[in-house]
Symmetry: C2
Subunit: 269 residues, 2 copies
């Protein structure tokens, strides 16, 4: 019988996910199991960072000599760039980051991986956004990351819808500047001509929620991706399924992120 | 096959040991294994707190909503009382604490457990200090805790030796005030009449170290306890063994502490 290594010891390198609340996060179990399976003496912990003590808590964690990386979840993705020595291009365009590491030279580097998980999930289901037309509902943090990833992955066109038109317009400008080959604009929630519809609004999280926008029956060739991490199917997924469309969900997006983020941390997987 | 619970998840409660360096500590493996065996969703982590960022790092850790307790090791036991809302009596007498928890009402409470592990280790080997005479070498943090525990456990007499006589005298006064039934004094490193000799100096940790003080041959009835946590036998242990004395060591003391400290944290063990 070979002895299992201890769960943690004095040499274990620490990673953490910061959020508030924190009990619901799946990253500690998912990442820690991956690290352990790879024989890497590292663990990813839940860190409940209270909003009233945000700055002091984050600076205290980052000062730990054996903490090498952090993930940020709601509501902190937009606050983390200010703590970094360097924000990589995707993080700069989105204006928020969800993954940060201490580089070998001690500098903290952050980037946004939400959109990469989205593209990875599509690819795993045999879909590509290359030369396709996408309709994005929601220009918040998740919507920004997904919209950026769609343009970066070679989409022909991206239409952004948000309750706050100025927010949608600002995101469209940033994406156009970074990825001019993608025709990015603010528009109406009209699925006509869209090959892909993405819900990046929070509508669908509450039990009483309906669709994020009123929609006519969809062309069954339209791919529908609801990035909400919640009991699936969501209202939008049920509607799309009834139209015969392929549907994808938030859990697939999260699964797509774990591997790319773990590699960014330096995990040998 | 029953599924093992994940190593850590979003609901895991955090404990940590703060020190610098931290790689050598055994507490993370020992405590985490105990917590897990008891089915308690909690983990104890190594936290490398750099001296130049001590205050900010400790305050950051204590602000975490899901961190419920800390252990302090070298060089931080003396600095922690200032961070507590309440220091329990033993910690006040010693002037240092090694174990801290957040109480149900949110207040931080700390105490010194080093000496309790010492007494527990003696008891496990069938020894008692009640009505016995002890010679204590070293009046630093560990020596203070052990001296306090010896007097608290009912020793008849305690002689304290330190390179810095004022330090020894100050400790003797504090112990006398708290435990007047024990005849506590500063003295010479003379083993005559001592039932127990304790090394609480760092001498013996370095490979080239000899005895902490020059000693004549010992009465084989004298119990010799070297609290150094290092490759045993230490020079003092070898000397005592050659005299036919029973010997105890730092590892036994640590083992004696784990259970009492874990219970202080609220672990169901």
């Amino acid at each position: 019988m070979s002895a299992m290594p201890p769960i943690v010891d004095g040499r274990t390198r620490l990673y953490g996910i910061i959020g508030h609340p924190i009990e619901q996060v799946g990253s500690p179990a998912a990442f820690s199991a991956r690290f352990r399976a790879a024989g890497w003496n590292a663990i990813l912990l839940p860190f409940d960072v209270r909003p009233e003590a945000f700055d002091a808590t984050v600076r205290g964690l980052m000062a730990l000599g054996n903490l090498d990386g952090l993930i940020a979840t709601i509501p902190y993705k937009f606050r983390m760039p200010a703590f970094m020595d360097e924000v990589l291009p995707t993080g700069r365009i989105v204006g928020a980051i969800n993954t940060m590491k201490r580089a070998a030279d001690g500098r903290w580097i952050g980037d946004m991986f939400d959109g990469r998980g989205f593209i990875a999930a599509l690819a795993r289901q045999g879909h590509s956004v290359k030369d396709r037309r996408a309709l994005l509902l929601g220009a918040g943090g998740a919507g920004s990351a997904v919209g950026c990833a769609i343009a970066e992955a070679g989409a022909a066109a991206l239409t952004i819808v948000d309750q706050a038109p100025a927010k949608a317009a600002e995101l469209a400008t940033r994406i156009r500047n970074a990825f001019p080959q993608c025709h990015t604009q603010v528009g109406a929630p009209d699925p006509a001509g869209a090959d892909l519809i993405v819900n990046a609004t929070p509508v669908g999280m509450a039990p009483e929620d309906g669709l994020p926008v009123a929609l006519p029956p969809l062309d069954p060739a339209t791919i529908v991706f609801d990035i909400i991490v919640k009991d699936e199917p969501t209202p939008l997924q049920r509607f799309a399924r009834d139209c015969g469309c392929p549907i994808l969900g938030g859990r697939m997006m999260l699964e797509g992120q774990v591997e790319t983020m773990a590699r960014f941390f330096g995990a040998p997987i």
